[in-house]
Symmetry: C2
Subunit: 210 residues, 2 copies
DNA sequence: CTCTTATTGATATTTTTTTATCGATAATTT
DNA sequence: AAATTATCGATAAAAAAATATCAATAAGAG
């Protein structure tokens, strides 16, 4: 526990967590690194190593207690501390994310949305109001929000990003297919669907051709 | 060109492509690996190596001709060959993806959507009809579709996945937060938002604490 | 025309990540 | 009670990826 955490490990921890939650639902009380590895198509040593960063609940011959491991992972991933966020861009994707209740379990609380389209303003989705972007700086500052989610079209993404940064946002989850330029210290996580698609497509080609 | 392509490189190629397309729009005719690396926060040798997998258009002192590089990347990523796909789950996210026209430029053509909710069936979004899932096997087989996109709730994802596989789908783009079990040879690409979020959150914590 | 500079692309080195091996441990079987 | 087995966790080895170095090249400056 508390070893240095590698980027890749951090990538996999939420995947383990999600699997464990499924298994817990099914009533699985104990689970071994070997079986996790088999299900996810990973190496069992890797799984054990990854888990050791967040937990120390493993017992020889038995494996990990599902519930304890879930708790440890949630704790490590900071899913218990709720973090407020705003969405900018209330188009299709923005609305979809607003309507999705699953983020709560990841410790993300979307408090409001913003859009340039006045026709959308004042509307509520899933109990969350859509405001005009003009109100973004004030509201974001006042509520001390540090996470911004950009679901606007590519051409507006950079200026929205700039506004978010000026308004005190430190971390940006970017769904627009552009590379944002940010000041040093600001975090950008790109949700790049093109990349996923490229990998899928590449693998599919191998199957179809090879 | 035509060297062995690593997973990581494949991950980055669409990112380069997207940046290059931006730059091309701005009228940039030539671009160097160094400047790409600076913009994206990567190492310039890495960029050069990555690009060499897909193109051989670089000239010393000048860099790459933007248009040629874009073409080479699109070609390498097979964005010119259109691949048909179906979406299963016409909830918020499914509708958002149906309404998004950007996939065309990645060679993905969503031909139809399916849902269990009869109320949605028959409706059209962005010119694409929503059918009842009962019709999925027949339609998918008849149209010889190899890609399925799952945007259904987690609890339905596995059974949808099974149906897709039975219907001849070879590659699945999974937006549901579950790990799907598939027969050998079937490709699954998980669009795991929890993972992105975990990384964002982790980095943010470092900033806030450190 | 020569020198300087920015760049490519190849090779070498370093770092990171993954995988293999092995002893320790605890549950189960004989 | 001893042997067997499934597992963990640590360390070692191997593989993959990232980065550094350097010769070659071509554009532009002097």
């Amino acid at each position: 526990m508390n070893k240095q955490i590698s980027k890749r490990t951090l990538y996999r921890l939420p995947v383990y967590l999600s699997l464990l939650q499924e298994k817990a639902k099914e009533g699985v009380e104990y689970i071994s690194a070997t079986s996790i590895a088999n299900i996810l198509g990973l190496n069992h040593v890797q799984v054990r190593k990854d888990l050791s960063c967040a937990s120390s609940a493993g017992r020889p011959k038995v494996g990990y207690e599902t519930k304890v491991l879930i708790k440890d992972l949630q704790n490590f991933l900071d899913y218990n501390n709720t973090k407020d966020a705003v969405i900018v861009g209330a188009g299709g994707l923005g609305k979809a994310l607003l309507g999705y209740d699953g983020f709560k379990s990841y410790g993300l609380n979307i408090v409001a949305a913003f859009d340039v389209n006045s026709a959308l303003c004042g509307k509520q989705i899933n109990g969350k109001t859509i405001f005009h972007v003009d109100k973004l700086p004030e509201l974001t500052k006042r509520m001390n929000i540090h996470i911004g989610i950009i679901t606007a079209p590519a051409e507006n993404a950079q200026s929205i990003c700039d506004t978010l940064v000026k308004s005190g946002v430190l971390a940006i989850w970017n769904f627009a297919p552009v590379s944002l330029t940010v000041p040093r210290g600001i975090i950008v996580q790109n949700e790049n669907m093109a990349t996923s698609l490229a990998i899928l497509s590449n693998k599919l080609n191998e199957v179809l051709r090879g």
